[in-house]
Structures are given as C-alpha cells and as structure tokens.
Amino acid sequence: MPFPRLPALLLVATLPCVCAAQDDTQKEVERYRQLLAEGNPADLFEAKGEELWKTPRGPNQVSLERCDLGLGAGVVKGAFARLPRYFADTDRVQDMESRIVTCMVTLQGFKAEDVTRNPFSAPGRPADLEALASYVAGESKGMKLDAPLVHPKEVEAFRVGERLFYRRAGPHDFACVSCHGEKGKRIRLQELPKLTDPNDARRIFTTWPAYRVSQGTVRTMQHRLYDCYWQMRHPQMDYASEASIALEVFMAKYANGGEIGAPGLKR
C-alpha cells in the first residue's frame, strides 16, 4: 500500500524547503537592496547640489566655490571625510551642515535664520540644504572617515556628546543608548545599530546623508538626530545646534575608519 505513506514523505520533503525559502528571502532582500542602490535617486540630489554650489546666489551673488569646509577655501573633495572638526574662524566645532550654513551666511550673505528655518524638505517644499549636503558628502565617497579628535573643543564636544548619548530623560525616560546600546536590536524590521560598536558605526554613520525611500527625499544626519529626539519625546533638537554636533563628534569617533558611502540609500 504505497499511497498512505505519501503524505508523510511529502512532509519530510518540504521541511528543508521551508528553511531554504527563508535563506532565499534574505538573499532576495539583499538583491533588492543592491538593485535599489544602482538607481539611487540621491544622484539627483547630488547633481542639484552641485549646481546650487556653483551658482552665484544670495544677496552677495556669489557661489559657494570658495567655501572652506576644513581643507582650505574651495576644497570640497575629501572634506566630508574630515568632519566634524574645529574651525578657528567660528571658534566652534562644526559638522558638514552647520559649515555649509556658515558659508551661505559669510560668503553669500544669507541670514542664518532664513537658511535654517526649513532645513528639511516637505512635500512641495524642497530644501537646498539636503541637496548641498548630498553633493558635499558625495565628493568624499569611497574615502575613509577620519574625523579629528585633537583640539580641546573637539574633545569637549565628544564629552558632551557622550553625556547626551547616555543621559536618560523625557516622559519615556529614554536615551540614545536605549535603542543604540546593544547588538541585534530592531524596531519592527528596522535594525538598530549599536553606535559604540565600530562595525555598526562605520556602516551607519558613513551612509548619511541618504535617500529615504519611505520619504522620497534625501535626509541628513541632522534630520536623523532631530527625528530620534522627537521619537524619544525629548525637546526639539535644533538644526546645527551644539548638542547635535556634539553627538556627531561622539558617533564619529567610533565610525572613524569606515568608508564613506554617502549619499546612501535607506528604507
């Protein structure tokens, strides 16, 4: 009687297939990400940013081509890989975005309040800063992050960032470390990097700014911090604020050595 045996055989036969299917799913997700990366819409923002960078704008009608991003006036290539850092002219530690704002104010004559009023785009309202940041970051693609931590103000910023990272506060009693202090954590399907782990930090910190598929635009590290603070129900993180830059200095220390993959592509 061979027939009654058949269902049992089938069951045995299908078990390995289930496992294989899960492996395949993971592989397919990887493949999907690769395919997406080939057509990263951040390229469009890079191109727009380059145009904005080289176009005379603002009350002074000059371009940003003489902007000093840390490697000297006019050097964009590789500048992002050496940020955040201390700048003598402003006497503060600055990240890429706050430095772009500085140049827009000092070179082009914009008012800082105007530049930073809407630093993040919304539907129907594009943000120049997102495009400019994409361009500047893209000019360091493939280079190794090497943010300095030497100047006393850089060291101070690191300490402030460290305090902020671990300090629980707010109605949820949350700190950055609540989500980013352990390996293998996730929110729904979104994996959470352990930001004090160099492997995670190098992979994550170096891929912002990134095109967020779910938002249809490039978001920057400043936006990531702003959003994290909102999610923690902390007071609003002001754009290019000292606190935000301190957190970046803190993260950069662990991310140093990672290859710049910005502008990246994220969920």
């Binding site: 395919l35 080939e38 057509g39 819409p41 390229d43 469009l44 539907p123 129907g124 598929v213 249809g216």
Partner: protein, 96 residues
C-alpha cells in the same frame, strides 16, 4: 554594453503624485505622474511603457536591448498626465 546587448539605466526626477494624498490643509494634492515612457534607438522604439500612479517617486528604469553599437544614440522621453515632457539623449558606451 553588456555582451551583445545595450544596458540602459534611467533615473527620472518626478514627483509621481497619486492624487490620493492630502496636504496639510486637508486639500487633495492633484495627481501628477508619468504616463508614457518611450525609448528609441536608430529610429526604432525599443521600449514603450504606460505608467500609472503605482510607480514610485523618482522612478528608475533598467533594461537591455539587442542591436545597439557603441557610439550610437539612445533617446528617452517621458510624458506626464499634465502634458509635461522631458527628452534626454545618451551615447552608448563601449566595454564591459
């Protein structure tokens, strides 16, 4: 070129509004999306697509076709539901 085929990658900057989204004041955002995409090579259409609102913002198209040679031109045109259009031309590169 990928073997004997021409590899085409196109990234289009377009809002691709579905017409179902509402803005901050609750008003419907009118639909605005690419309807037709045409790719031609040497006077022949090599790809023709009719798109709708389910295509993502800033769409990316990737395909291959036979019969192209390095140095020849590929032309791509999209037309959206408002009649706006954009045409770009690229020269086929050799190699790979």
């Amino acid at each position: 070129m990928a073997g004997d085929k021409v590899e085409v990658r196109v990234l289009m900057a377009h809002e691709m509004e579905t017409g179902q989204r509402k803005d901050a004041s609750g008003a419907l955002v009118p639909a605005h999306f690419i309807q037709n995409v045409t790719v031609t090579h040497a006077g022949k259409t090599v790809l023709s697509a009719q798109w709708g609102t389910s295509i993502s913002k800033n769409p990316f198209v990737h395909f291959r076709f036979k019969g192209g040679k390095p140095g020849e031109k590929v032309t791509i045109t999209w037309v959206d539901n408002k009649g706006e259009r954009r045409t770009d031309e690229a020269v086929i590169a050799g190699g790979s």
